[in-house]
Symmetry: C2
Subunit: 199 residues, 2 copies
DNA sequence: GTCTATATTGGGATAGAC
DNA sequence: GTCTATCCCAATATAGAC
């Protein structure tokens, strides 16, 4: 690593943390530069603008993460036996637990959905539309007697529960931790299966 | 109505709309005053500060809304026959559909949960902790064989699905409307019942 | 690639006239 | 209760030296 990428990385890490904590609009470039321990001008040199920095912060976590989701799904569909709903659900959710690949991905994804539409929409469309469509198709193959519209609703509610878990990690009153995310994900899968797999 | 309350109301309505659209941090007092058609100084006169305005915008929608939820629950528990899970779920969700009482409440609630913790937490604790606890108790009475911890998770996921519905109104790809909120709420209740009512 | 210094704009809040 | 005018500070972004 040269000093160049080092500065870049420090800015990205600081911005990521502050966006998660305070949101995009409430985070200033000054605060980012301060926490990164770099000069204010370096932020604009490397990313052009605050919005450019936002795009990069989001993309570098979510892109490899979504690749992993799709790889999981490919593996299931290439298998000899047809995947179960639980298999698909785990392919969709479990990457959030693989800390080595995307330790910050849960918080990044939980955060971006909470931004106003003007901020979040373009990023969501770009990064998630393929994944959402692939996984909905996978569920559709399992439940041929459920209408596409009904299936979209069920998927919608699943995503809502997942995002709420990613954002708060534990129910109000409990204190969040890495353990509670892992445990919560198991609860989520059991809960969601009941809602997804109805006649 | 005197001119006084009129100005107050115009500011509240404008702030409410802008907070929903852009979020708290991205909304300036100037933008609020402009949209309300009042002078900038009037905003500080009536609410002291931007944060005071936020508190009032939130409270005036959510307070009567939560009262209605609790009234619904009281009525159920005072009835001769024991309420079903569906009864309780409807008591919790249906106030979002009563446009005359709380036409903006769905969007307000959907929005406040998306604010950073520093903004949202104090408001959430103040306004929702009683309601959440009452409804969890009601579910606990129905499912005595499910542990309190497990029940908190299920309630947590239900709230996540509900908030996602309130925020986006329709699945990605569909276009949102009042009709889709109403229809979505029925889908949500069926979906959530399956997750809540497991052995 | 990184710094200092600064241009420029917009923010929240208030003093004081009416 | 409402206005005008303004204070003071923080924001994004860039110019230009090193």
């Amino acid at each position: 690593m040269t000093a160049t990428t080092d500065t870049r990385e420090k800015i990205l890490a600081a911005a990521e943390q502050l966006f998660i904590e305070r949101g995009y609009a409430a985070t200033s470039m000054r605060a980012i530069a301060d926490r990164a321990g770099v000069n204010l001008a370096a932020t604009n040199y490397h990313f052009g603008s605050k919005h450019g920095l936002l795009t990069e912060v989001f993309h570098r976590r979510v892109e490899p993460f979504n690749q992993l989701r799709l790889k999981n799904l490919d593996a299931l569909e290439a298998g000899s036996s047809a995947p179960t709903a639980r298999d698909i659900l785990e392919a969709f959710c479990s990457p959030f637990l693989q800390g080595d690949i995307a330790s910050k991905a849960p918080q990044i994804v939980g955060w971006i959905y909470s931004e106003p539409n003007s901020v979040a929409r373009p990023l969501l469309e770009r990064e998630f539309s393929v994944v959402a469509s692939r996984f909905q198709q996978a569920f559709a193959a399992i439940y041929p007697d459920v209408s596409a519209q009904e299936l979209r609703w069920r998927f919608h509610f699943l995503v809502g529960s997942l995002l709420h878990l990613l954002r708060l990690q534990a129910p109000l009153g409990d204190k969040p931790s890495n353990a509670s995310l892992k445990s919560g994900m198991q609860h989520l899968i059991d809960y969601s299966l009941a809602g997804l797999a109805r006649p």
